[in-house]
């Protein structure tokens, strides 16, 4: 589950710079003091045993401090920086319970801070880079570590009298409550075993996290976690020695400590590794910002983000009004394939865009936040564009529906006429015919009946014309070419045919094309001066192209103009286009093009 990067919210509550500075100064002071102790009383310290040890110890403390300082610079990682500085302090304090120091205060503080090193280092590596543990499990592990340190440190210190521990020359323990060697030993052991078990658990957690991470996160926190796991493993081994178990030979303890120091240096270097990665991503972000400044074309933002975030199938989708599902920049609905994750990008709590990406891509949310902020304007533009296109699409669909409905109405009307009024008239005619048979005697009656029959025939004829004008049967049964051909018997304007399409188009398109010809060659056409009409239609690359030349047409006749406008609407509703050429010597030329499958 990744958090939604909010474009407006700044990184959540960072500790102030003051805290970081304070911690740094503390680490600096403690470090200096520890160096002084090591120099003065090298005997009982680890660092004092040899030059390599000193160098390693010093490097470890120094690098923890440096890492802490470096992480404290950025607001987002400041919390982590603070933890690293604490770990540095704990590291340095590790040499303070040196039995040969002069000051009891120093000695006592050393006792208190005795078990603190490992937990604070574990804390710093589990909470890298944001300063928070990733899960409740990890948080609990950190807490248990500190608990163990508490037992080993302050609690057992209450009962530790150096004198009775075969150290008569040790300084006094200022915190001594009661001299109880047995209890001290027990508490010490408890603390140690707690620490050992805890260390094992943290190793598992750290390695587990590395294995489960997405590549981006693994690259970032992997070095820190693995170095930390190594450190804990070595520490665990030497702690078993101290707790009384003999898995590890006595001579190895020195090497274990050396190894631990080196591991700590590696941890700090791992933290610095993120600096390297960040530089690289910063360069990418800079490129991104520059490219965005060049107003990329539609869909270009998606390609850019896909490249920068290194997810080639990344999709940017927008939530627009009038659509339940998000659409891409071009206005078409975005399907979310299996295995991909949606992350909404928020501004002021409203979802502005949705990134569809591979799982784990947005683990490094810091970088993502920056990229997203840089892309803010691009996202706005594209979203606006997507909204507009979605609207246009809606309008198109609505127009097409209107035309389709009107076509359906016409067909229904024609059928109603055919099956209804026209049929009734034929039946009427039949009835009249039947009655005439029985009127063969009466001449007068026959005459009346004949007249009635004549009128009925005329009615049948007229109604047939009306029905044909509403919707011609040949168009439904034989298609556009046949219908235009048949039209020649029904119009007063002579129609000359050029090429006609052999390929069928959708009924809506054929209907529209037919009516272009029909509407322009009715009785009004002769009144407008049309002497003949030349019609040709062809089909190429999925488009039906129709040309009607009205020779002799007087332009700007109101009836003609209003019909042209109506036809243009009809053609337009099917995604087609119509143009009228009025200055041709032949007369008026109307050209219409419609995608065949509309």
């Amino acid at each position: 589950m990744t958090a939604a990067p909010d474009l407006t919210k700044a990184s959540a509550v960072a500790p102030s710079r003051g805290v970081a500075v304070g911690l740094f100064l503390a680490a600096f002071a403690v470090g200096l003091a520890s160096i002084a102790i090591v120099f003065q009383h090298p005997g009982a310290t680890f660092a004092g045993r040899s030059s390599p040890a000193a160098i390693a110890w010093g490097a470890a403390g120094l690098s923890l401090t440096a890492a802490g300082v470096y992480l404290s610079v950025g607001a987002r990682t400041r919390r982590s920086g603070a933890v690293f500085l604490l770990a540095a302090i704990a590291w340095f304090l590790g040499e303070w319970n040196n039995p040969t120091v002069d000051l009891s205060a120093v000695f006592t503080v050393g006792l208190l801070a005795r078990g603190l090193v490992a937990p604070s280092i574990a804390h710093s590596l589990l909470s890298y880079p944001l300063g928070r543990a990733r899960s409740i499990l990890e948080g609990t592990a950190v807490a248990i570590g500190y608990l163990a340190a508490f037992v080993i440190g302050p609690v057992s210190a209450l009962f530790f009298a150096p004198a009775s521990h075969a150290c008569p020359l040790c300084p006094t323990n200022l915190l001594l409550a009661a001299d109880n060697r047995g209890l001290f030993d027990q508490l010490n052991d408890l603390g140690l075993w707690l620490l050992i078990g805890w260390a094992a658990a943290v190793i598992v957690l750290a390695v587990g996290r590395v294995i489960r991470s997405a590549p981006a996160a693994r690259q970032l926190a992997g070095p820190v976690l693995l170095a930390g796991a190594a450190y804990l493993l070595l520490g665990l081994a030497s702690a078993t020695r101290e707790a009384g178990a003999n898995f590890v030979p006595a001579a190895a303890v020195y090497w274990l400590s050396l190894g631990q120091a080196i591991a700590v240096v590696m941890i700090a270097l791992g933290a610095a590794w993120s600096w390297v990665i960040r530089r690289r991503t910063r360069a990418q972000i800079a490129d991104l910002v520059v490219e965005l400044g060049r107003s990329p074309p539609r869909g270009g933002l998606q390609e850019l983000l896909a490249r920068t975030l290194r997810d080639p199938d990344l999709t940017v989708a927008y939530v627009v009004d009038g659509r339940d599902r998000p659409v891409s920049a071009s206005g078409s609905v975005v399907d979310i394939p299996e295995g991909r994750v949606e992350t909404p990008l928020l501004r002021d709590g409203k979802t502005v865009a949705i990134l569809v990406h591979r799982p784990g891509l947005l683990d490094d949310s810091g970088v993502v936040d920056e990229i997203v902020t840089a892309a803010r304007m691009g996202l706005d533009n594209e979203r606006f564009g997507a909204q507009v296109r979605a609207r246009i699409e809606d309008l198109r669909a609505s127009r097409a529906r209107i035309v389709a409905t009107s076509d359906a109405e016409r067909r229904r009307l024609e059928r109603d006429l055919h099956d209804g009024a026209q049929q009734r008239l034929v039946e009427l005619s039949l009835a009249i015919g039947l009655s005439r048979v029985h009127a063969s005697e009466d001449a007068g009656l026959r005459e009346l009946i004949d007249e009635a029959q004549g009128r009925t025939r005329r009615a049948i004829d007229e109604l047939r014309n009306v029905a044909h004008g509403v919707y011609p049967a040949v168009l439904s049964s034989d298609g556009l070419a046949a219908a235009i051909d048949a039209l020649r018997e029904h119009t007063p304007v002579p129609i000359v045919l050029g090429e006609l399409p052999k390929v069928r188009c959708s009924p809506a398109v054929e209907s529209a094309a037919y009516f272009v010809v029909f509407d322009l060659t009715g009785p009004f056409a002769t009144l407008a001066g049309v002497t003949r009409a030349v019609v040709k239609a062809g089909h190429s690359q999925g488009v039906l192209a129709l040309t009607v030349s009205l020779e002799g047409a007087r332009t700007l006749e109101p009836e003609l103009e209003s019909r042209l406008l109506n036809l243009e609407d009809r053609i337009g509703a099917l995604d087609g286009g119509m143009s009228v050429q009025r200055d041709h010597p032949d007369g008026l030329i109307v050209r219409a093009e419609v995608p065949c499958a509309s």
Partner: protein
């Protein structure tokens, strides 16, 4: 004469039946769709099947399709299509393949009992029958340029009768001309239109209709 009638409108079916029976024609079956029509023709073997062009299920050209099926399966059975559509397209579709024993009349023709029975007789005789109204419209169709302008009025009349499928004998009776005169007219007309070489009456119908469609 024995016929079957196919029309989805009951009133028309009944009315036509009555008219025909009054005129002495045997109506063997009355059906309402193409499937039953084909069954009836198969069973009863009428002389002519009278078919409404528009029937269920699609109400477009079922009748025409059924007529084609009957003509190929039972060549000795004539078909007479009745249609409210004044479309030479449908008429041509019917006679294109097999002009013999085929007819296309406007539905209202049923009220002229004489015309109906006459058409039936002609079909049984093997002729081709095209409704005069359809032919008239076809002949009168505005043309530019107009090749029919070369014909005299008389010739135009004869042309129309040829297109209706009438035999020379019928034409001579109709126009009160001698058969010889009729023959002369006809060869002149066909010459002017460039349609020589069609001796067969029925082929001649087709040639003229096709010419009139495309000129």
């Amino acid at each position: 004469m024995r016929v079957v009638i196919a029309d989805d409108a009951m009133l028309l079916r009944e009315g036509t039946t009555r008219l025909l029976e009054d005129a002495g024609v045997d109506v063997l079956a009355k059906v309402g769709d193409a499937e039953r029509l084909l069954e009836a023709v198969g069973q009863d073997h009428p002389d002519v099947a009278i078919i409404d062009i528009r029937m269920p299920p699609t109400f477009t050209d079922e009748g025409l399709i059924a007529a084609e099926k009957i003509r190929s399966a039972h060549p000795d059975v004539g078909v007479l299509i009745l249609s409210q559509y004044l479309e030479s397209t449908y008429a041509l579709r019917l006679v294109e393949e097999l002009p013999e024993r085929s007819g296309y009349l406007l539905k209202e023709r049923v009220s002229e009992i004489g015309a109906l029975v006459d058409a039936l007789k002609r079909i049984v005789d093997g002729e081709c029958v095209i409704d005069p109204t359809i032919v008239a419209k076809l002949v009168r169709r505005p043309r530019d340029p107009d090749p029919l302008a070369e014909l005299t009025d008389r010739e135009r009349e004869v042309l129309a009768l040829i297109a209706e499928g009438r035999s020379n004998h019928a034409i001579s009776e109709r126009m009160f001309l001698s058969p010889k005169t009729v023959e002369t007219h006809i060869s002149q007309i066909l010459g002017k239109l460039g349609l020589e070489g069609t001796p067969d009456d029925n082929r001649r119908v087709l040639a003229v209709l096709t010419y009139l469609r495309h000129a």
